[in-house]
């Protein structure tokens, strides 16, 4: 399956792109996708623990099972206000 990945804030600069597609085996979890993205975009790896992960418009745990076409977002801690 393929999922769309978007990066926000300075994660865009670190990844070098604002969005990317990633192919995963069926049943893959958000955590597995995150691990794969840390290899593909190694400049994001130091922020691994503080990275926030969302599927669609909701935060999800690493155990979240992804499905075809999911829109996943990775970003640093938020700073509104």
């Amino acid at each position: 399956m393929t999922v769309k990945v978007s990066f926000y804030s300075y994660f865009k600069e670190l990844a070098g792109v604002a969005a990317a597609a990633e192919s995963l085996p069926a049943g893959a979890t958000l955590g597995e996708l995150h691990d794969r993205l840390m290899e593909r975009f190694p400049k994001l790896a130091p922020m691994r623990k503080s990275t926030l992960l969302a599927v669609g418009v909701d935060y999800q745990p690493r155990s979240c099972v992804l499905k075809e076409g999911d829109e996943v977002s990775l970003f640093p801690p938020v700073q509104g206000g």
Binding site: S6, Y8, S9, Y10, L52, A54, G56, V57, D58, Y59, S73, F75, P76, V78, Q79, G80, G81
Partner: protein
Amino acid sequence: MKCRCSRRCKGADGIGDCMKRELTITTAAIDEAALVSKRVMSHGMGAAVYFAGVVRDSEDGVAIRAIEYEAFEKMARHQFELILQEIEKRWPVESVRLVHRIGVVRVNEASLWVEIIAPHRGEALAACEFLIDEMKRTVPIWKKPVA
């Protein structure tokens, strides 16, 4: 769809005693006077609490001219709505209006404006603090200092 508010609201589809909300995410300057002039309070309400977050002239001890705000807007709106739903469950708030700027906001300009209307100051102040604390924890908006 039945109303989800916890105030024994008789209405459906969000009509009835439900908390009113108005959320604006905009690149335009926040006109606080114009916003306050549009305040609507029913006769049972006794507290209108306002908060403005204003850009300071330094960030981590370094002088800046502005802050550039970026939002993942679709998710930001959803996360704000989750916070508003929680406020509706916790306090008898009549209305919440919130404006958050994105783009470049210069020093001394407001980046955030909030109005909470409730029967008493305690619940209005508590709801306002909760809203801002939760926003800073969950709403995907980021800032970048502009030197």
